[in-house]
Amino acid sequence: MAPALVIAQKDLRQRIRDRSAIILGVVAPLVIAALMSLAFKGTETIHLTLGVVDSDHGPAAAGLVEALHGPGLKDLVTVVSETSPHAASDAVQTGRAGAAMVIPAGFSASIGGSHPLPLTTLTNVNNTLAAEITSSIAQSFVAQINADRLSVATAVAGGEAPASASAALATAHLSLPVQAVQQAFGAKELKTISYYGPSMAIFFLLFTISFTSRSFFVDRDQGMLERMLAAPVHPLSVLLGKVLSAFVFGVVSLGIIVAVTTYAFGADWGNPLAAGLLSLAMVLAVTATTALVIGVARTQRQAEGISSFVVFGLALLGGNFVFVSVTPPIMQRLALLTPNGWALRGYTDLATTGGGLAIVAVPIVAILVYTLAVAAAATALAPRALRP
């Protein structure tokens, strides 16, 4: 065991002296997570400035404006009164308003007649989300009016006399029979930094695989391995020393990133014990993968090639490049074939539920299963790599 520690110590010292290790392990993930957090600061929440032109001044228009100020839309929409359709159009074009709604003159009077006037929404092609929200609000508002009109038309088509259908409707005071009942379920919002903090930390942690496996072959090519094996050192200690340095490096770099993203950028890593164990499992997975790459590769060049494939393959599949939740369902399933995909799911669940160990039990077990399988393969292949 002692020789492994000495080798690990020497490796760590070497890596810290070459500043590239600090850049990859600490600076780069922090800078990139910070950039992402800054970029998405305003977009994490949707807020719509809606221009409204009331040329009607009737009861229906008043009802619509009142609905826009209602409790359901209060936090989502800021209503700005515009004087004319032209002014509203200008506001939308310049981006002062995300979208606008025009209530035409005579709207209230027309909705009972046979030729109801339409509500017009003014939208910008660069703000499709605002366009959809505005159109949804308008649709919801006219839904009851339209339901009543449809009721009469359907009854008439079914054989009722138009006059009696209208009379029946007037006395029935119908209201839309299917209603949405909003269920809050106590989930916390997933902040961008709470996803990309862990995501970037893991992405750059994966580079440990490249660095460590490469350094093993550099040592071997320089005859270091032969010299070490000439000493009373078990061959496996050499490999153990290498991967131990990768493990320590991973733990320290993750720890620094957790601390900085939490205190400087307000990232939420969730329950400390659960997040710690999840991180530890992830570092173990990276360490085992490093050992496997050393076992499979025969030369330094091969180690670089294989580790590049592994690093970028895992990062792409696991969701370190794009927010995995927005990817197609097949990608979300593929992500769960990677340890980093499980880790990211664990961090996401910790941040959104506020839960503890129970939440990350499945991700941790999944990562450990991967780690054990990879470690077993690495142990089987190691003697070949360690043959001088």
Partner: protein, 385 residues
């Protein structure tokens, strides 16, 4: 002659190395594929539905949701699975349809449909608003069918079908959408977004990583040996630069070809696109050579290069459109050449731009390229002297 020989050596070294081919071709294509398939979220709401036990009426409502433009519907087996999906932002809102909805719609009572969304979360609230408007349209048909069955008698199903049929033709209070702003200021979604931005990202990143070659050459004393022959230092520098440009151009052309053939990306005005690719290759070459004179070990080049390349790409709008970030971040972004290149691609792909309309971007990029190359040549010449 020696100029071409030096360039040839650099290019051959890259082509022989299968690992660099992975970074030049395979990785960009994979990233274009994944980002292209994912970046559609800026304009669609993803909505989850649990329709367990709700019967034919539940299926009808789900079909109405699915056919609504701008809405993508995913099915979940249980309310718990749906809640987890909303929590993880896989969907932004969800509907839990009641068991026995088929019987309930035929009755007289109000039907409650569970809407899963956090009131405090505006994104989920926006999606909930969209879902509610579809639900209201469906509820209108149920109301009409109930009313008709009551007035005229007969089967509820017949009335419901009649209401569904009439809903398209009965004059209703319409909501008409008019475009006030029609000039698209960001790249189109999907592969037309990911292909040009990843071209910008990877040509630059790859050139930075290529700086490792210059560092290795310096350390191996390659340049000293070259200069021992009848070769001037200017020729060595020009040869190296030409090698960088050739590789960058080859990579850009490959990405454009694969983008057009496999992903169906239309790259806009060919002349303007060619000019842009040419200038961008020069920017990449300049940055790569400059990095080669700044870093001291190949390890630093392979560690700092990608991190710097990704950070610049983020600032410059390659990973997300700069139209969604705040004004400060947009200004900061335009200190990187990437932002100008993405702006130019936006004009070409979204606004039918020509050489004339991207002239300002080409000029700025040209200035970037010239200063990178001049600085790199000056530093390299000092080292060679």
């Amino acid at each position: 002659m020696s100029l071409l020989a030096i360039m040839g050596v650099s290019v051959r070294r890259v082509l022989r190395d299968r690992l660099s081919l992975f970074f030049i071709v395979i990785l960009p294509i994979l990233v274009i594929l994944i980002i292209g398939a994912s970046v559609r979220g800026f304009s669609t709401f993803r909505v989850g539905v649990v329709e367990d036990g709700s019967g034919a009426s539940g299926r009808q409502l789900t079909a109405t949701l699915s056919s609504t433009p701008g809405m993508e519907v995913r099915q979940y087996a249980t309310a718990g699975a749906l809640e987890a999906a909303v929590r993880r932002s896989v969907v932004q809102a969800g509907l839990v349809l009641p068991t026995g909805m088929d019987q309930a719609v035929q009755g007289h009572d109000e039907i409650d449909v569970g809407l899963v969304a956090e009131p405090a979360n505006p994104t989920q609230q926006a999606a909930a608003t969209a879902v509610q408007s579809v639900l209201a349209r469906y509820a209108g048909q149920v109301q009409a069918a109930r009313f008709t069955t009551e007035q005229v008698g007969g089967e509820f199903g017949t009335s419901m079908a009649l209401a569904g049929h009439l809903s398209a033709s009965v004059p209703a209070v319409a909501v008409v959408s008019r475009q006030a702003g029609t000039q698209l200021t960001s790249l189109p979604e999907g592969f037309s977004y990911s292909a040009p931005t990843m071209l910008v990202l990877f040509v630059f990143l790859n050139s930075l990583a290529g700086s490792a070659v210059i560092i290795a050459n310096r350390r191996l004393g390659m340049y000293d040996r070259m200069l021992a022959g009848p070769v001037r230092s200017g020729t060595v520098i020009a040869g190296e630069a030409l090698g960088f440009v050739t590789i960058a151009l080859a990579q850009a052309v490959l990405i454009i070809a694969i983008g057009a053939v496999v992903f169906g990306v239309s790259w806009g005005n060919p002349l303007a696109a060619a000019a842009l690719v040419g200038v961008w290759a020069l920017v990449g070459a300049g940055a790569g050579m400059l990095a080669g004179t700044l870093f001291s070990t190949p390890e630093q080049a392979t560690a700092v290069g990608p991190a710097l390349g990704i950070a610049f790409a983020m600032l410059g709008g390659c990973m997300w459109p700069l139209s969604i970030v705040g004004p400060t971040m947009r200004t900061v972004g335009h200190f990187t050449p990437q932002a100008w290149a993405v702006d130019a691609w936006t004009r070409l792909l979204s606004q039918h731009g020509t050489v004339a309309s991207i002239a300002p971007q080409l000029l700025v990029l040209g200035a970037f390229a010239a200063s990178f190359l001049a600085l790199a040549a000056w530093r390299l010449r000092r080292r060679l002297a």
